[in-house]
Symmetry: C2
Subunit: 353 residues, 2 copies
Amino acid sequence: MADDSQIRIGLLSCANIVRKVSRAINLAPNATVSAIASISNSIEEMKSFAASNNFPPTAKIHGSYESLLEDPDVDAVYFPIPASLHVEWAVRAAQKGKHILLDKPVALNVYEFDQIVEACEANGIQFMDGTQWIHNPRTAKIKEFLTDPVSFGQLKTVQSCFSFAANENFLKNDIRVKPGLDGLGALGDAGWYTIQASLLANSFRLPKTVTGLPGHVLNDAGIVLSCGALLDWEEGVTATIYCSFLANVTMEITAIGRKGTLRVNDFVIPFQETEASFTTSTLACLSEHKTMNEIPQEACMVIEFARLVGEIKNRGAKPDGFWLSFSRKTQVIVDAVKESLDNNLERVLVSGR
Amino acid sequence: MADDSQIRIGLLSCANIVRKVSRAINLAPNATVSAIASISNSIEEMKSFAASNNFPPTAKIHGSYESLLEDPDVDAVYFPIPASLHVEWAVRAAQKGKHILLDKPVALNVYEFDQIVEACEANGIQFMDGTQWIHNPRTAKIKEFLTDPVSFGQLKTVQSCFSFAANENFLKNDIRVKPGLDGLGALGDAGWYTIQASLLANSFRLPKTVTGLPGHVLNDAGIVLSCGALLDWEEGVTATIYCSFLANVTMEITAIGRKGTLRVNDFVIPFQETEASFTTSTLACLSEHKTMNEIPQEACMVIEFARLVGEIKNRGAKPDGFWLSFSRKTQVIVDAVKESLDNNLERVLVSGR
């Protein structure tokens, strides 16, 4: 049920992920679905989609993205549309004063993303990318351990991977393997998570250099299906990432500090929806940790996004720039990996980008 | 207590590791300690070492390596001496008909190791390197999973690391950080295990190329204290290794196949001496596995080594060449990583070496 304090979110498209995110919006006490627009579904299909996903009866159906962006009952927009369309529609949304929850990869490259950054900054827009695990209460606990000088110490290396074995249909038809749509393939999708895990472990500092690793796999159109990369912060601090559409589902972080080690075996989507675990060790002394979250991590994301939008809408606060900056750094690294893969795995300087 | 069916092992030096290995020999029903020789300890010190480590009273004390190699009551020799001395003493041992259990790294480079190979082959010598985890019953179970076409499928990547945070004394004085002794540093020591884990996961095939990763750390003498490398088997099959003397103790293997994933958190030295565990998943369905070993893994190694020597000594069998070949491949990769690190991280072709 909508109330005045709730942030009203408009959804672009009836993509599968919208089922998950609209459920999350329903679960978030400070947000509500207020509209949906799709350019590939009829009004009837959208109505049926709205009903089957328990949208509030007040949710409006729009026949075009433009129309949704004009809707005064929409405070913020969730964009599960191909990355190739992000720059156009996110900029237009920002210009209409709509706050932005944008799926990853946030753009095809950082030059495009900078247009979104500019539009957000010019219009006082709250931005957040749709990466969910970062909002799981477990992640806060992980961060606590990784910054603990006594139990973890100086980070030495963080190794993360996210892979899943996509089926034949996905590998032929999904937007993530199409050059004109999400042209960054496994790197912009699965790789996005591993890059954010690496940034998290390094206090969100950009590495100095990024190097693609031998052994990457491309499809016939040149889209990355599988790759690895090395991020180097110098002074012996590195990260390796591995992302793939071709290998069994694996979602791991191993972070090794001078004094401690962190292991997470399901960092992207916890094996269970309302609890999550990780292991730490200081020397060889192991501890298992468990965190509980009453609501799934995607609802935690919505709550935090809606909270920030609410601060702006109701209290005149400024947008929290952390999220723009975090997404931009991630995109910078995605671009650098791509550049390295395209250029014989040369080492790419990213500091200062 | 010695009996005629036991393989009589001579030990070179009173190094710390000899305590562990002589205990393992005592535990192995088919082996016995028959002699010790040290060039840096007095006869008295060796006697005391023998007594405090429960050597059989019949064990002889030799004042020189030469003398031990002449001893007719020695069937085989364990060599916990600096890698720089391996080629000389292993070749001499082989020429004297002594079987060889040689600590890793087996040599300073493969050219040296090939002299040992040649001497072993010319003299019908059983060779084995002193890597213990490979003999843990858990490793056989791991291998079973990794070669299972239904639950694991085609290997895509294996990521392994072995690190420990050495103290100041180690970093100044240990043979593993001295150019004239074990000049391969963390690579020849901790890295040896990760390379063997990578080979195990790839059915012991040499990769096509090896590439050192940015971010390695050398000491003032140019010895590797920490480094990573990428092994590429082509067709999208890779391994990353990470080894370090500068990071908290971590001993991980994550191997990802098309259909399954393996995780081992203590592959080098299991957290418990007589049981060991690992996790497998096929899709996202996790299974915990536990294996029991009545005796520690180093005794499993001694039993297998003594069994092979016994086959030769008592039944006229030929040496099992697998172990020479396994060590040689490992050394080839160690050399290639070193070569890459020394040459601006260039990709080094190793197939055919």
